[in-house]
Structures are given as structure tokens and as C-alpha cells.
């Protein structure tokens, strides 16, 4: 916060980048970022709960505005999935998954819009001094999504080609069936899987994290005086407006890549 004589920029940023950690066992791995988990689960429940609430009262007659909005969202996603996935009934799994990803990631990204200091101030009042409100600025959250997608794509690869077929493809494509080429094929496929997963999650993380940091810097400037407050406000407004694009675009990209990776897993080579 901008008040206090011991204010300094490093502390400010450090403060806003500290997770609410709950150690559940020995070692670095056995800690839980309570803020990430609670915020994301609440947002997921809020977003999907809203969709469910609207959908539960959905009429096949003339929809009201609420239902029309949800239908627009669902039809938009269904249209995207329809164009990418032609390997079976998309309504069974892939389209609802895309909806989940889009709604959830959008809401998690949207937390970036909340003014950080107001949020941390309010949470400080109830004793939560370290709380990061943007789950997608936590690598754990984005990697959880991308690793889940990786597991799903492996599952669907095996489900559509059989375990033998999948292993055959791991060793025999893309270069050829010759035994000498097996290591190269296998290495290539491993690199593909790893890079897909890395780029999938890091793209989202990087964009949202960078957005968050930029806000911190603008609010830091805002704490330096009247001129800084004015420009901090102005640029913060500009960045927040630009962030609408980033929030939605990143959620959209994440959803599309999810669909593409799962659809690719169904393809036979």
C-alpha cells in the first residue's frame, strides 16, 4: 500500500506476489497455495453455477436475455468445436470441456481487473495478508490445466487407436517405420508432447502474470505523488481496457488449443 514511511517498491511487489501457503507436509512440494485453489474453485463454481442455473430453467421457446446470452456463449463454443473436431460426437465430451475451459479461464483471468490494493486491503481486514487473487498468474493453475489436457489427449489417443496403436505411432511416426528411426520418432513425439504442454500453460501464465506486474508498476507510480496518481490512473484505465482483449483472447486461445490437442489425439497417422 501507498501509506507508511517504510514503503518501498520491492516490498510492495513482493507482497503482492506472495501466495497464501499452507504447508501440508515435509518439503517444498507439499504446500498448497490456498489463495489459488480457493479463488479458482469459487470462480469455477460461480461461472459454471451461473450457466447451470440459467440452463436449468432453459426453455425451448423464446429465451429471455439471460438464456439468450448463455446460448450465445454455448453456440459460439459449439461452433468452434464443430470446426475442429470431426472424430465423433462432440457433445459427449469435447464441447462441454471447451465450455468449462473457456468459462473458467475467462473468470480466472478476469480477476486481474480487480484493483489489487483494494482486494488485498479488504482481505487484510479479515486477517488474510497474503492472497493472490489471480489464479492464472500461478503456474500451478495453468500447468494443472495443460497437464490435464495432456492426459486427456493421451487417453483419447489410446481410446481411439488402442494402446498398441498409440505406441506404434510414438515410434513409427512422423519419420517412418524403419527400426533405425524409432529413437528419432520417439524423441520427436516426446518433444512434441512436452512443448505442447509447456507452451499451452506458459502462454496463459505469461500473459496474465505480465498483466498483473504491469498493474503493480502503474500502482507503484500512482503512489509517488499527484502527477503519478493521475498518470497511474490514466494508464491503469488504458491497460485495464486493453486487458479485456487479453483476458478473453487468452481464454479463447487456451480453449482452442485444448480442443485442437484433444482432436489431434483422435487422428490416425
Amino acid at each position: 500500500m501507498a501509506s507508511g514511511k517504510d514503503f518501498n517498491a520491492t516490498d510492495y511487489i513482493q507482497h503482492h506476489l506472495s501466495f497464501f501457503r499452507a504447508p501440508l507436509g515435509e518439503g517444498e512440494f507439499w504446500t498448497l497455495h490456498v489463495d489459488t485453489v480457493v479463488t479458482s474453485v469459487l470462480l469455477g463454481m460461480l461461472g459454471l453455477g451461473l450457466v447451470w442455473w440459467v440452463v436449468r430453467g432453459a426453455t425451448s421457446g423464446v429465451p429471455n436475455r439471460r438464456q439468450a446470452f448463455v446460448e450465445l456463449l454455448i453456440e459460439f463454443i459449439d461452433g468452434q468445436v464443430k470446426g475442429l473436431f470431426q472424430h465423433g460426437d462432440r457433445h459427449k465430451f469435447i464441447a462441454p470441456t471447451a465450455l468449462t475451459v473457456f468459462v473458467w479461464v475467462t473468470l480466472m483471468n478476469a480477476m486481474d481487473w480487480l484493483p489489487v490494493d483494494v482486494v488485498s486491503g479488504a482481505l487484510g481486514l479479515v486477517g488474510l495478508h497474503e492472497w493472490r487473487p489471480v489464479p492464472t498468474a500461478d503456474v500451478n493453475a495453468t500447468f494443472a490445466l495443460s497437464i490435464s489436457v495432456l492426459l486427456l489427449s493421451i487417453y483419447f489417443a489410446i481410446a481411439s487407436k488402442g494402446l498398441g496403436g498409440w505406441i506404434h505411432e510414438l515410434f513409427c511416426s512422423p519419420f517412418g517405420k524403419h527400426p533405425l528411426l524409432w529413437p528419432a520418432n520417439f524423441l520427436f513425439n516426446m518433444v512434441e508432447y512436452v512443448s505442447k504442454t509447456l507452451s499451452h500453460s506458459l502462454r496463459l501464465f505469461g500473459n496474465i502474470y505480465a498483466g498483473e506486474i504491469l498493474f503493480f508498476l502503474l500502482w507503484l507510480w500512482a503512489a509517488t505523488g499527484l502527477v503519478g496518481t493521475f498518470f497511474g490512473f490514466l494508464l491503469g484505465l488504458g491497460w485495464a481496457i486493453f486487458h479485456i482483449l487479453i483476458v478473453l483472447l487468452q481464454a479463447y486461445i487456451f480453449m482452442m488449443l485444448t480442443v485442437v490437442y484433444i482432436a489431434m489425439a483422435h487422428e490416425h497417422h
Partner: protein, 156 residues
């Protein structure tokens, strides 16, 4: 940037959300949308049907109008013919009547003329007799010469 238990927790949350959407949200919405699409398709089909029946009704109406028009023309023709016929008949009757009347008049005139001639003849005969009487005075016996006088009267 460190990986920890959060990753696992997030994956579980993600799985739960996917399951919820797949099992609960999506089928609900799909049902509503599909029901609406069916309603719309039915409505369109009904509209098409209505359009078709309207078309056929129009067609039938046109036929009926055509028929009525034809029939009215026929009736009009008949009426005209009948009128002409009646005029013809009336003319004919009038002509006949006039001829009959003309004939009657002529007969009457002839009768009248005959009567006049008769009278004239009588008078001339009487005049002649009177004349002859005056000339002949006593020599002529009207009764003795009645036959002769009669023949003279005829010749007049």
C-alpha cells in the same frame, strides 16, 4: 515459480468442473436448443404447408371465378338471344295484327262502298223509274215492267 500440491488440487478441480459440465450443464442446454430447433423446423414446415394450401385455395378460387364468369356470359348470351327473339316475335305479332286490321278495314270499306253503291243504284233506279214514269206517265205499268226494271237496276 514452484510446483507443489496446488497443481494436483487444481487438476482435481478441473476434472470435477469438466465432469459437471459434461454430465449436467451441456445435456440440459443441448436438450433445450434441440427442442427449439425442432419447434422451428415444425413451424417452418407448417408455414410451408399453409403456403401450399393457400396456393391451392387461390387456384380453386380462380377456377370458381372463371366458371362463374363463363356461366354469367352464357346467361347473358341467352338473355340477349331471348330478348332478340321476343322483339322479333313482337314485331311479327304487330305486323300480323296490323295486316289483320288493315284487312278488316279494307273489308269494311268495301262493304261500305258496296252499300253506298247499292243505295246509289237504288236511288238511280228510283230516279230512273221516276224519270221514266215522268216520261211515260201512264204507259208504263210499274208492275208489268218490274222484271225489266230489275235488270236495268242490275246493270247500273
Amino acid at each position: 515459480m514452484s510446483f507443489n500440491l496446488t497443481l494436483i488440487a487444481q487438476m482435481l478441480a478441473f476434472a470435477a468442473f469438466i465432469l459437471f459440465t459434461v454430465k449436467v450443464v451441456w445435456p440440459h442446454m443441448l436438450r433445450a436448443i434441440e427442442a427449439r430447433q425442432k419447434t422451428i423446423a415444425d413451424g417452418l414446415a407448417a408455414a410451408e404447408q399453409g403456403h401450399k394450401s393457400l396456393e391451392s385455395a387461390k387456384h380453386r378460387a380462380e377456377e370458381a371465378i372463371d366458371q362463374a364468369r363463363g356461366r354469367s356470359a352464357e346467361i347473358l348470351g341467352q338473355a340477349e338471344k331471348r330478348a332478340a327473339q321476343m322483339v322479333e316475335e313482337a314485331k311479327h305479332a304487330a305486323q300480323q295484327e296490323s295486316e289483320r286490321e288493315k284487312a278488316a278495314a279494307k273489308a269494311e270499306i268495301e262493304q261500305e262502298a258496296a252499300r253506298a253503291r247499292e243505295q246509289l243504284r237504288d236511288q238511280v233506279a228510283a230516279l230512273a223509274v221516276a224519270g221514266a214514269e215522268k216520261i211515260l206517265r201512264r204507259e208504263v205499268d210499274a208492275k208489268a215492267h218490274a222484271d225489266l226494271l230489275e235488270s236495268i237496276k242490275r246493270q247500273l
